[in-house]
Symmetry: C2
Subunit: 368 residues, 2 copies
Amino acid sequence: MLHDAKDRLDLSQNERQILSLIRRRGPLPRAVLAQATGLSPQAITNLTRKLIQNRFLDAGAVVRGKVGQPSTPLSLAPEGALFLGLKLGRRLVELALVDFLGHVKIHRQEIYSHPTPDRVLSFARNGIATILASMPQPDRVAGLGIATPFRLWDWGAEMVGWRDFDLADHLGKGLPFPVFLENDASTACAAELIFGRSVLPRDFVHLYIAHFAGGGVVLDGRLRVGPRRNAGALGSMPIPGGRQLLDVASVSTLEERLGHPLPPDDSGWQVPADIEAPWIAESAEALAFVALSATALLDIPTVVIDGAVPPATRRALADATRTALARLPAAGIDRPDIVEGSLARSARILGAAALPLAHFFEPGGALT
Amino acid sequence: MLHDAKDRLDLSQNERQILSLIRRRGPLPRAVLAQATGLSPQAITNLTRKLIQNRFLDAGAVVRGKVGQPSTPLSLAPEGALFLGLKLGRRLVELALVDFLGHVKIHRQEIYSHPTPDRVLSFARNGIATILASMPQPDRVAGLGIATPFRLWDWGAEMVGWRDFDLADHLGKGLPFPVFLENDASTACAAELIFGRSVLPRDFVHLYIAHFAGGGVVLDGRLRVGPRRNAGALGSMPIPGGRQLLDVASVSTLEERLGHPLPPDDSGWQVPADIEAPWIAESAEALAFVALSATALLDIPTVVIDGAVPPATRRALADATRTALARLPAAGIDRPDIVEGSLARSARILGAAALPLAHFFEPGGALT
DNA sequence: TTGTCAATAAATCAATCATGTTGACTAATG
DNA sequence: CATTAGTCAACATGATTGATTTATTGACAA
């Protein structure tokens, strides 16, 4: 029997585990799912039947060539569910419609000198209405995720309007699906966890270098947000010299050295090496310190470095961090691997869309 | 129907949740358990019936005085299960039999100049045999936990015998119950989590100052040990000045300042204020730095400070850490509360006994 | 003061449902 | 024909639901 639109999104833990496994490992036949989940083949038959009926999974072409009955790999249905992501930045607001596989289907953006609640609200409302109107099946949208820096009002007098403004609450009214909101650096981490191309362990720390530096923490395959939604505030980590990470390793400090702002969108940048190199060196010192702190505290094997920076800059940051890490004292612990992220600029908005995805489709809701 | 000794320890998640709730909040009537667990009253009736039959819970005297049928609070049965704890130290090895409520029923110890595998093994084997022989129901012992510093062989040439020696494995042979082993600072944290008198949130970091400094991390009410069993290695946290926490905030550095070792057992100590005070001040700086790092990373609201030190010293350390914390930059995060632990010297051996307890009786096994 | 009864809360009984397992079976292949 | 994927039917476990029982307080009338 087919479920109505409500029940369709009400998945059991085992259904979520199946989808999560296929998301990470690619199309899998039922026998492998049984092995990986520890469930009986019969249970997998029943669960996948329901998931296929509800159009979350597609049965692929049977695979022949091995001894025994051929297997039919099951893959995620791209249109199984769709998600909206809204990313709020200092100079740019973006809205995207993302499919079940993490592909951006529609994208719109707007540049401003600084964001105001009204402006963001009307951009989002118009954009969402337009997107929904253009879709054949708007009820396939499971939710909206918002990625935003926290404490916007600390940016200056013109931003006080954000102080007591609850964007998620305002946008939620009138929308037929739930709204989620997280720190933009946390969503970047969520995106790497859910849509990332790199093979990552179940536990990692994610450092994201944008105008500010921030981060996220993944433990046991789940993004940790903490009791006050402020976990992964890696920019606030104390570092030697009475400073914090964001005082050193952020694009804002590079802009200060440079004397002018860098472009807010994806057009890349050219920064003279004699300015970028010392910024990278100093940032890497701080990043290595933070990476080592995280490892001592949590036994983290891998630290991911990503950011809204050109690929070459990210590469240089990761390399320099590895070097700096080797110089820090690490008695009693193993230094973590430093790995580059795979999503760069798009991490935050993809992560925004990943918030409703995780809520409905990942085991445990993936965020506490 | 009564279960045999095997099945008796095989508790479902919901049974564990009931025991865990009663352990933390004291005796509770069934109606409160239903409310707190979200289970139906009927389910609670069935589950508690089984727990009472298996002697893990006792029904108390009915409580009258309120409108409606009187309630019968259920409390933990002290002899519901018993646990052995073995604590290995630099100068002292201890063995304890601990009951379901965390009370030490039998305790024995032995002093040495340094521990050797043979000596520890024979102390433990003799002690366990003697204890079991003296008990009316030795089958009530659910397991043995071992608390030990890691990397004993780094202490000096006379300790190389520990290098490839698996204490848990050797002791486990011939014992009719499982053996668990963790870092001693982690067990101190586990003890505070499970037996501690303080009311603590579901997330906290625990700093334990003994000959070395170490710690533990509790997230969502569970001790985190990490993929390589090395989480909470807080002594290895980097601090400013190219050092690590254990270079500053440990009893070994106090002994260096003092010029002679302090007594290994519970006899307390007298350290001249002009030596202790600067040690406390410098340690507190480092502890505050580490506490703030943990908060930025994990959104930890509370940091517990405990140690194998006299109460006055612990108090002074906590006070000084609060002061130091207030001076550190904390943009974007809330400084954590600094709380004193409640178990001091006994934390590690109680935590050792808590390892099998957590394995059999806490939700999720309480250690990954 | 005492007897009666409605309201309330705790706890259980019996029936049912959801979701898994087990063991026998079928299907398709090298 | 051994091997592997997958399904069918019967059953087991562990929860929920709704009706029911029990024990009490507190109000009110005799």
